[in-house]
Symmetry: C2
Subunit: 128 residues, 2 copies
DNA sequence: TCCTTATGTCGTAAACTTGCGACATACTAT
DNA sequence: ATAGTATGTCGCAAGTTTACGACATAAGGA
């Protein structure tokens, strides 16, 4: 891309500015985004409870059309949180438990970092 | 709202269908959404490291304008993840560590549920 | 072969998100 | 009072997300 292109995209930058944030911050945000819709949370829980299911089954248990569910599945698949393999006439979607375990650790580290810091109190300078 | 309104909103429903999802799923998705942007992750980490800061300071440390940072702060504030109180000419934003602790537990419960289920393997019906 | 069934893709509409400049407000100090 | 500084609000532009119908494709059976 050209120099002018860079200037233009900078001027009309409306997407998330990923540059200048750490890889960890971007990674956490990316996974959080995947979980940022109740349907996707429900899909993961459904897969966890059934251990194996197919797209049609999932749509039947959610208040969404098959197309929309498929879209959510693709989003989870893009992050490799779930996997799907064609098996004849049906598809087997399953959780990537290994990756989910890693993500869990990442979130835990973040929350511990956030909760171990002392909250503002009367003793602080701000006093709030 | 009227009956017609319901029909119309249903016809042109483009927002997240929150109905028919459990409260837990919606709650988790809501918090995940708050963390779904690197800037907001960075803000929480910054507040955790400083224990007390003000809006202007935060903007200075991020590659975003003051207005945009303020917007992200409002989003975190809407969920009560952070709190801000006016103190003369400055504002003290601080983490709601109590709530963050609760959220951490919620995420942990979700991830444990998702990772303890056996992943698909050769022994399964799907065989993937 | 042709029909059924199941999954994948495309296009579209409406709402939401992100980013920022410009303006408004409020407190402090001179 | 008035200037200066710091935070809050508004409105716009462009991109992304969500939802779904309609169509495409592929496997399996009558």
């Amino acid at each position: 891309m050209s120099y002018i292109y860079d200037i233009v995209t900078d001027l009309f930058m409306t997407t998330a500015k990923t540059t200048a944030f750490t890889t960890e911050q971007q990674q956490l945000a990316r996974v959080a985004k995947a979980l940022a819709h109740p349907a996707r949370v429900a899909i993961i829980q459904l897969l966890a409870s059934k251990q194996t299911c197919i797209s049609g089954d999932i749509a039947a248990e959610l208040p969404l059309s098959r197309t929309t569910v498929f879209q959510h599945l693709q989003e989870l698949k893009a992050l490799d949180l779930i996997r799907g393999e064609i098996d004849g006439l049906t598809v087997c979607y399953c959780l990537n438990t290994e990756l989910l375990r890693q993500v869990h650790q990442q979130f835990t580290a973040f929350f511990i970092e956030a909760t171990t810091s002392a909250a503002c109190g009367p003793a602080d300078a701000c006093g709030c």
